[in-house]
Subunit: 342 residues, 2 copies
């Protein structure tokens, strides 16, 4: 802020800097934008003037001319808004915010829980108010993906968008391999009647983790008993219900691989109410390594998803897309975390 001749505060503009430095506004703009074609002397004068005046570029003016907003949307499309209760979501959101902030790019948080919200957010995005979007949507076939693609807005999804013909970048943990390592671990520790509680069939985690489970059974020559496979919806309650069903159908099971920690919590509850000891009678393995995995007794053996790296990659890829690169996919490895439950 500086005072005008009338004593009123107004913010300092490129004009003030130019006058202070004794150069034209064009020159100031050039040093602002990389300092190409600027003499060292002018460069120094401008920088000094910027420091002296406390100049901060007006992004609106800049955006008006460049056509870019220098901001990015974090769009969460989740009808159930369940993601918000998911601890993974926090890590993701925080890490993305910080990775962007480090590049001085603000993150606009958008939540499309209803159809109306979806339309509004889409209009805003397609209005060119953001340069790209980080998309978090647990369910595949989300129309938002193709709509953004059609509007040629760069998108990077978290998790592989299923059944999409749109060309989107995405980064995902290696669900299938993570599931394999868990089931293999259960098998290696002597379990032979291994059940599984899956995620929804229209989510990558639902599909891939089940595939990994089947992989290992086949690999070990174990028969696949379909009655040992029960679907859940990632909620704790669905974990409880699934475990009840399993207890009924297969009282002899000696292990359960659960496709999320939240559901595993529910499984643990039911097992304990059913008088089963964990891990003595039944070993339980989760997926996510969420904070929930630490709060159970015994602690939950689970599969860690590398959320920090996922976030960093998403931001990196989005920026690359914005800069004109083609879409790409990154699959990140998971890690087995041993605690008491298996």
């Amino acid at each position: 802020m500086i005072r005008g001749t009338d004593g009123k505060r107004r913010s300092v503009t490129i004009h003030d800097v130019a006058r202070e430095a004794g150069v034209s506004r064009g020159t100031v703009s050039r040093v602002l934008n990389g300092g190409h074609y600027v003499s060292p002397a002018a460069q120094a004068a401008v920088n000094a003037a910027i420091r002296k005046t406390g100049y901060v570029v007006n992004r609106h003016a800049r955006s008006l001319i460049t056509g870019k907003s220098d901001s990015v949307a974090f769009l969460l499309t989740e009808p159930q808004e369940r993601f918000f209760e998911d601890p993974n979501f926090n890590v993701l959101l925080r890490a993305c915010t910080q990775a962007l902030a480090a590049r001085d790019i603000p993150l606009l948080l958008m939540i499309a829980g209803t159809e109306a919200e979806r339309r509004r957010n889409l209009r805003y995005i397609e209005g060119g108010h953001v340069d790209g979007v980080l998309l978090v949507s647990s369910h595949s076939g989300d129309p938002v993906v193709s709509e953004l693609d059609a509007a040629s807005v760069p998108v990077v999804a978290c998790g592989k968008p299923l059944g999409q013909r749109a060309r989107v970048s995405y980064v995902a943990a290696d669900d299938r391999d993570g599931a394999r390592s868990m089931v293999r671990y259960l098998h290696d520790s002597g379990r032979r009647r291994i059940a599984t509680v899956t995620g929804p069939a229209d989510t990558p985690g639902g599909v891939e983790r089940l595939a990994g489970y089947r992989d290992v059974l086949a690999e070990c020559g174990l028969p696949v008993d379909e009655s040992l496979i029960v679907p859940g919806d990632y909620s704790r309650a669905s974990g409880e219900a699934a475990a009840e069903l399993l207890l009924e159908r297969a009282p002899d099971m000696d292990a359960v691989f659960v496709a999320s920690d939240l559901m595993a919590q529910g499984v643990l509850d039911t097992l304990s109410r059913g008088g089963r000891r964990v891990p003595e009678d039944v070993a339980v393995g989760g997926f996510d390594d969420s904070p929930a995995a630490l709060s159970t007794r015994p602690g939950l053996t689970t599969v860690r998803q590398p959320w920090d790296r996922i976030s960093t990659e998403m931001v990196r890829m989005l920026l690359a897309r914005i800069a004109g690169e083609e879409p790409s996919a990154v699959i990140l490895p998971t890690e087995l975390v041993r605690r008491g439950s298996a």
Copy 2:
């Protein structure tokens, strides 16, 4: 988007709408901004043209001239980033995002976990890139409050900023009264050796909830035994530690009022390890009604903070401040939620 004479896509501007409607750009702008001094006929023509062309206002151009950004920051200053693990935070962030979205105002999420981030965010905000800020900071005396105030940026804090001379609006739950209702409830159910685990002394929740505890003891003619008062830092671990201390100092306690659900979880763990039955031997009351309160066995009796209303009020007040109103404070009532632990 429309095609130019050269066939290239460019976005539709107010100019296109004006031509389509057969009026001047000034008239289009007037209907965009409330329709004052516009004839019904022109109004209709413009609206039709807007629909036909799919026009969306360019906010950068508008902001450049109005000096307003029509966006708001959600600033989280939390050295430990603990807030992010706090389920309350999710509710708050989500509700604020949606309340703003309903008014078509985007929310910029900013996290100031380190001093460098604090400086960067402050520069951004003071650069006039947002019209106001929703401040979430668990610790009082946060310099950010006075810095924003000095830059005359409208601020609404979540929770009462302690030790601030800055004139900030805030909305808070009635911590003191909430604590009173809990301690009164414990007393009414026959408990006489009521301990408490407090929050940090530099947070409103730490101070006020303890004050409420003391209020009721005085009110009931119970002596205040300082050895029954143990400080925590809102973390689960600090709850465990506090309970250990209490078990040692006052093995005869028959109730604990814990200033947060997360800490109460820790207290429950320690109590159970120490062989105390809840609620038979020791009644436990929490504060927050966070999801954690549902996952304990027994369920946690706690004090619900009205996060939905807090968020709505914060947004309403910030918008009022931006519109020029004076700062104000709103204190919202809490509600006792009975479950199994007390």
